[in-house]
Symmetry: C2
């Protein structure tokens, strides 16, 4: 059996997450039992939600246990199988965690899914045609529910979720304005993803400046806001929101490292008769088929070209993850393991 290198959560962050929260270990993969499959991971997914789980706090998910393999999505190939429906060579996605191999009981519903890599590269099943893409789809379609001609704003616009929000909103005839960090990301958001505009938050580091930039980019006001970040950008968006605007609350990365980040003026939700809804996509499995069909079509046809940041090797995972939390990635953050 092959040797399997793993990244464990060694200890919980005290404030900002650091590399020493993780620990790299090597173990032997165990022999397979009936219905089990050995998957060699080609890619593992790094996602902002993982930071929340590193805290031992009340949340929608159990905290990531200390001393165990960091949990997360993976894409790879079957290298051994004792399950009749999986053959060596099958491309599969699952939730294998931060390690090079995983042993999966393939009889568990949803534990493993075969994917077709003819038109969609394997890695995209962890991004645009995977959980981040469906997250974008759910928040946009089911919460914001935009009408053609409305204006939708999305933060972390060059990221895995944000880029999909924009492409899906453009497909629905909206004006789409992204917010991203740096000129390169903004150029990509506008020129390659086709957003109508993109605001570089580094040029607008406070509410007043961001609000002015949003006024210029959204001359008709804001009807839908897809929130990945929190903090002063949320405050600024509320100042430009139209009556009956909708907010899909997907992430608040600004507060992951420590003290909660307040919302300056919640009364604007009353003044503008707005709706806000927080969600996590794993609680809405019923939309996945419809969402993945649309996203797969957009990616397979070349209309949506998601960008990826790919770190190499299991040993690079902690630094790549910490970089993601600081916005150093550009597009979907992956670790390539083969």
């Amino acid at each position: 059996m092959p040797t399997n290198r793993q990244q464990l959560l060694d200890n919980r962050p005290d404030g900002e997450a650091v590399a020493s929260n993780f620990k790299l270990v090597s173990v032997e993969t165990p022999p397979l039992k009936e219905n089990q499959v050995l998957v060699r991971h080609h890619y593992m997914s790094l996602d902002p939600y993982m930071r929340g789980r590193m805290n031992d706090a009340k949340s929608y998910a159990q905290p990531q246990p200390v001393g165990q393999v960091m949990q997360g999505g993976t894409a790879g190939e079957v290298v051994e199988s004792l399950h009749p429906k999986y053959a060596v060579g099958d491309r599969v996605v699952g939730f294998g965690g931060w390690q090079e191999y995983s042993v999966v009981d393939a009889s568990q519903p949803g534990a493993l899914k075969k994917v077709d890599t003819t038109h969609v590269p394997l890695s995209h099943y962890l991004g645009a045609v995977g959980m981040p893409g469906v997250t974008a789809w759910y928040g946009l379609v089911k919460i914001i529910d935009p009408k053609a001609g409305e204006t939708v704003v999305v933060t972390a616009a060059s990221g895995a979720v944000g880029s999909a929000v924009g492409v899906l909103a453009k497909a629905r005839g909206c004006r789409v304005v992204g917010i991203a960090g740096g000129a390169d990301k903004c150029r990509y958001v506008k020129e390659e993803l086709g957003f109508d505009d993109c605001i570089d938050y580094r040029q607008h580091p406070d509410v007043k400046s961001m609000s002015a930039a949003l006024k210029e980019a959204c001359p008709g006001g804001i009807d839908g806001y897809f929130e990945n970040v929190g903090g002063y950008i949320f405050d600024a968006v509320l100042l430009r929101a139209n009556a009956f605007a909708r907010v899909a609350l997907c992430g608040m990365i600004a507060g992951y490292d420590g003290q909660p980040v307040p919302l300056a003026n919640p009364a604007l939700f009353l003044i503008n008769r707005m709706k806000l809804e927080g969600f996590i996509v794993s609680e809405h499995m019923e939309v996945w088929p419809e969402a993945l069909a649309e996203l797969g079509q957009l990616v397979g046809s070349g209309k949506f070209r998601p960008r990826e940041s790919v770190a190499q090797g299991i040993e690079s995972a902690p630094e790549a993850f910490l970089g993601l939390l600081k916005g150093r990635n550009f597009g979907k953050q992956l670790v390539k393991l083969v």
Copy 2:
């Protein structure tokens, strides 16, 4: 024609509203034109929303114009009529403002409505069987949408809106917990309105203490929150909210006088996958008949005995209104004019 005393908005508040923002004047009522009706106001309604309109700020309604009669709901009797459908002696509700008489063009849809005072006293058409009651109904039924057995919390629980929220939620099989200021109000909320519990916020003046009181009063957590107040109570409720809790945002009186009152931890909306919706009842006229039917039945049958604070005479309106903003009223605040 009778002399009509009026309260005008003389100047806008600079911070806290004060009595000198208003000015009492006397005018002659003009002769009626075709389709006009002269209404003598028996009661005028004082409501927290009026404070928001005294500011010259972007909001859902036009600001109250300076130098003009304060706008507001009124209940009275027809004393002269040039409209075929209204006769002298008819009891009517309308939006006559802070004055003793109003001249109404009764051909305008919604300008005037005849009411039946056989089972429901006239004044209640400004409270439980009027705008405040429908406000309660909309936020509870259409936004919180509670299931039997769920726990609903409402602030300003002894007030015109809050009391109706509680009675309507009890009728739907919920556990209902009010928050009110002082032992007398809490006793009324529990003993006369039939709430399961009531928390005196004066005994719990900070988030930590209020959160502990809510934990005790809501052993199963909070599923629905009807928000009339804002500020630290909202923060405390969020700490006790269950997954998929709903917040109907009706008022945020805490911020009317000056700086916006922040929300400490908006990420709780994500962690608990909550919904928040701000609303104003005048934008949902379609629910009024259904809501008024239920409220009229509850009041007419004696199951719901709304409490009123009644100030006497047009000259008392400013002080009564300022008292309302400070929670000095007990139940629906009215001014009696006859």
